[in-house]
Symmetry: C2
Subunit: 260 residues, 2 copies
């Protein structure tokens, strides 16, 4: 215990002193990063963890690619217990909130789920495609969707079933297109999901619409039909922001890619 | 300027070293977990990192206290290079966005900063008060505010100065009360901040108003005066959400306490 007590100040000292020298540019990137350089690895770990937090809090705004120095960070994270744990904690907070909602019994209490990296994990696909570091390839992606074998995110499946049991109507709202309806429905059922109220996909007229607008428009339709959207779960801020918002939104982690 | 850059770290060091002696009783580690129990520590680390992410993404919603098993996690984080790095990355994203804003030259381009755990760090105070694990004590907090010696968050100071240089009008919007105006202004200047357009504090009529409403109302006034609020930086979601929103909001990390 005493050794722990002394660690923090000295650690902070070394951080502060070392950062004081490189204070002028906001982030002083090491000039040359070698994998043998232990300090650089530590620096990378800290930088990438900070980058990830900024992605998850939407501070990063629109972004195209994982910073190259963070490829192994993202790979480690997405295949780690942390990723599973992050989903579990979000599911716990979602469930705690859901339990506080009074279900009216008129069948109009709704919860919205996104599909990819929310209900389902495409880890097998991204594992074979650079964990989001490669440019999006529609052909290989479509082939993967047609396989209909994306596994369930376990915490989401558990949450989904609990919400259904509590009386929420489940709406599945995905950026996948209408011609992927069969494969998507098949995949969801294969992974254990069933009993959704509606599966909403991009129709031909949604073609060029940004995800945040498309999803807001679909939520608007539900609101106009009298649904009360209590909760919304998604791995992209474009699942959650815009208009016709859910009363509470739950952001699931995804450092692999950004959808605006 | 260089001397100023060096002052703060050494100041912080002296605070940390002097408080280290009274460090022992402040942190209550959970009884059941011993430092020899490696698995529990790993589990705790993962759980607490997930909890922290859910706090920062607003998944946690309103919360009162750090989970007891996460006290040492929060302590380690808040005194770590990660915390400093998290601020730097957010400042970088803020600056990248600010650079994309076209400054009209009519003096109406605005940026809003919160004070506590945004421009200033109250680490010396929280270090002596359980890192947010103790119930808020107004008397000791007011005494700390009156001292007017909360250090600058370096990344925020740099961002603040850059934004000012770019032509943004800076509004400092804090939940501190009007009778702390002098101490707050004095502290900000002591920490290196100057040239703000307005320092906005809670007046007598704001007494029981939730932070999210009070801050939205103040932003509304600015919007009605013709200001374009391009950016807003704060460590609480109540700094950033509500109405009369900034075009972009930047959430700074704070796992110590929640303000609704």
């Amino acid at each position: 215990m005493p050794s722990q007590l002394l660690t923090a100040p000295f650690l902070l000292l070394s951080i502060l002193v070392s950062s004081a020298a490189s204070f002028e540019p906001l982030i002083q990137l090491p000039k040359a990063i070698t994998t043998n350089d232990r300090k650089s690895n530590v620096d990378n770990e800290v930088f990438c963890a900070s980058w990830h937090l900024s992605v998850e809090t939407n501070n990063a705004g629109s972004w195209n690619k994982i910073p190259s120095r963070c490829l192994s960070f993202v790979q480690d994270y997405i295949t780690s217990q942390r990723y599973v744990s992050d989903f579990e904690i979000v599911a716990n907070f979602s469930l705690a909130y859901a339990s506080s909602v009074e279900i009216a019994g008129d069948g109009k209490d709704a919860w919205i789920f996104d599909v990819d990296e929310t209900l389902l994990t495409n880890l097998p696909y991204y594992q074979a495609h650079g964990f989001g570091s490669e440019t999006f390839n529609e052909t290989s992606w479509d082939a993967w969707v047609d396989l209909a074998e994306a596994p369930a995110m376990h915490a989401s499946l558990k949450l989904y079933n609990e919400l259904k049991r509590m009386g929420f109507k489940i709406f599945v709202l995905t950026g996948r297109s209408e011609n992927q309806r069969n494969a998507t429905g098949k995949n969801l059922m294969w992974a254990g999901f069933n009993g959704w109220e509606r599966l909403l996909l991009r129709g031909p007229s949604d073609g060029g619409t940004p995800a945040i607008v498309y999803k807001s428009e679909r939520r608007s339709v539900l609101v106009n039909e009298g649904y009360r959207i209590h909760g919304s779960s998604g791995d992209q801020w474009s699942d959650l922001l815009g208009f016709a918002l859910a009363k509470r939104s739950f952001k699931l982690p995804n450092p692999m890619y950004y959808v605006g």
